[in-house]
Amino acid sequence: MKRKSTILFGIAVVGLAAIAVFTQKQVSEAPVDGLSFMGEPVTTDEIARGQEVYAANCASCHGASLGGQPDWKRRLDTGRMPAPPHDESGHTWHHADRDLFTITKLGVGGVVPGYESDMPAYEGVLTDEEIRAVLVFIKSTWPDRERAFQANVTANDQGGS
């Protein structure tokens, strides 16, 4: 009797664990409410992946907390501008998804021909999926007002949703 109870209890634990994993998977792959990228849904998994990519590739200049370089509105001695913040204090949320993707992949010169910037083009460094993930992560940090503004800019852009 005692042995049977132990087995039943074990099966129940394994079952519950499986349900928890399944539920967790469902949640991480579920679309995040109120957030999209170029018209496509975004998942919590993608946001988490983007956060890792951001930490490894972007945070050194744009700040671990997305706060940008100090005094970012003042030009460097080189004539170039410092890395701006990506949080609501910056201007990233004024740009459409398509432009953010192009700037990250091709550099600022991809949207403003001839513009000189310290930011490298990430084509060949990050995959398109990684670029998308990091931008999704940045977007996920914005307050509602900035997120809504940027969604409107994206909707009005021909490459947006």
Binding site: K73, R74, D99, V112, P113, V153, N156
Partner: protein
């Protein structure tokens, strides 16, 4: 013993030498005349139908330039801004630093400089559609903005980098054309040419045709452009509030205009232009400070008449 001999100065030679001497003596004046005439007026603006003109004094005319009244500004005014939605509101950039605000057409003024860095204010502008949003360029510093008619100021953007150097902003105008970034443009004149920045202040950039990026991506021939003379200083800029794609610029070579937001420019009138303003309702009604005097055109610059001698 014969005395010394002297060459005989014949009448023809005398006239020739005299003429040469007079010509040489007159040369400095001729050279001076070739230099630009010192501009009497450095900034102009319409306040409704009234005209404001500032040089050493700030003057106002309510009768089309027939008579002028001096306004009691606190300092020399190198820059003026008005807004079609706020008749009577005048923002004056001051040579001594800071800005002053009048809400009664210039009869009374108050300083509005809290938080604004020190330094001569070269240019001011009010945002199209947002008369409480004011921009000011501070010499040697950058572009500042106030969202509450000058009660509080914050740095918007450092100066633009043109031709390997930072350049002061000599002229500003808010141009009500969409940037694609949820806002509109601010155009600026510098000692080294024209530039512009979106009102999210992401970066200074050249004026590009609207479909320039599409052409770049597709490899098609770029759209036609006819920029202002490369590297020339731009003393003043004006965007017609009723037709924002219509721009006017004052350069040492004269008054120029663009009808497409600054991509293609044409030369309207020759002369040393120090200021230009466009009527708030009629985009073809312009006034310019040209060769030290004031001239007016009511047909977009095709014909001009002297406005007044102030």
């Amino acid at each position: 013993m014969p005395g010394p001999t002297y060459p005989t100065l014949r009448r023809r030679s005398f006239l020739l030498y005299s003429g040469t001497a007079v010509g040489v003596l007159a040369l400095p004046k001729v050279l001076n005349a070739a230099e630009p005439v010192k501009p009497a007026m450095v900034t102009l603006a319409f306040d409704g139908d009234a005209l404001l003109a500032a040089g050493s004094d700030l003057l106002r005319s309510d009768d089309g330039g027939s008579s002028w009244t001096a306004l009691p500004v606190p300092a020399v005014v190198p820059a003026l801004a008005t807004h079609p939605e706020r008749p009577g509101r005048i923002i004056a950039g001051l040579a001594s630093g800071g800005v002053a605000l009048s809400e009664d057409g210039g009869r009374t003024w108050e300083g509005r400089s809290r938080g604004l860095t020190e330094g001569k204010v070269d240019a001011v502008a009010m945002a199209a559609g947002q008369p409480d949003m004011i921009y000011a360029s501070v010499q040697g510093d950058g572009l500042w903005k106030s969202e509450d008619v000058g009660q509080n100021w914050s740095l918007a953007m450092d100066r633009p980098w043109l031709a390997d150097a930072e350049r002061d902003l000599l002229a500003l105008t808010s141009v009500d054309l969409a940037t694609g970034m949820g806002g509109i443009w601010i155009y600026a004149g510098t000692p080294a040419g024209l530039t512009r920045v979106p009102d999210c202040f992401c970066r200074w950039q050249d004026v590009q045709p609207g479909d320039a990026m599409d052409a770049l991506v597709s490899g098609d021939a770029p759209p036609s452009e006819a920029p202002l003379p490369a590297g020339d200083p731009i003393h003043a800029l004006a965007s017609a509030p009723s037709a924002p794609e219509t721009l006017y610029a004052a350069l040492p070579s004269g008054i120029w205009t663009s009808r497409d937001g600054g991509v293609v420019w044409s030369h309207l009138v020759y002369g040393y232009a120090s200021a230009v303003a466009v009527h708030p309702v009629d985009p073809n009604h312009i006034v310019a400070a040209l060769d030290g005097g004031l001239k007016q055109s009511r047909d977009g610059g095709a014909t001009w008449s002297a406005l007044a001698v102030i």
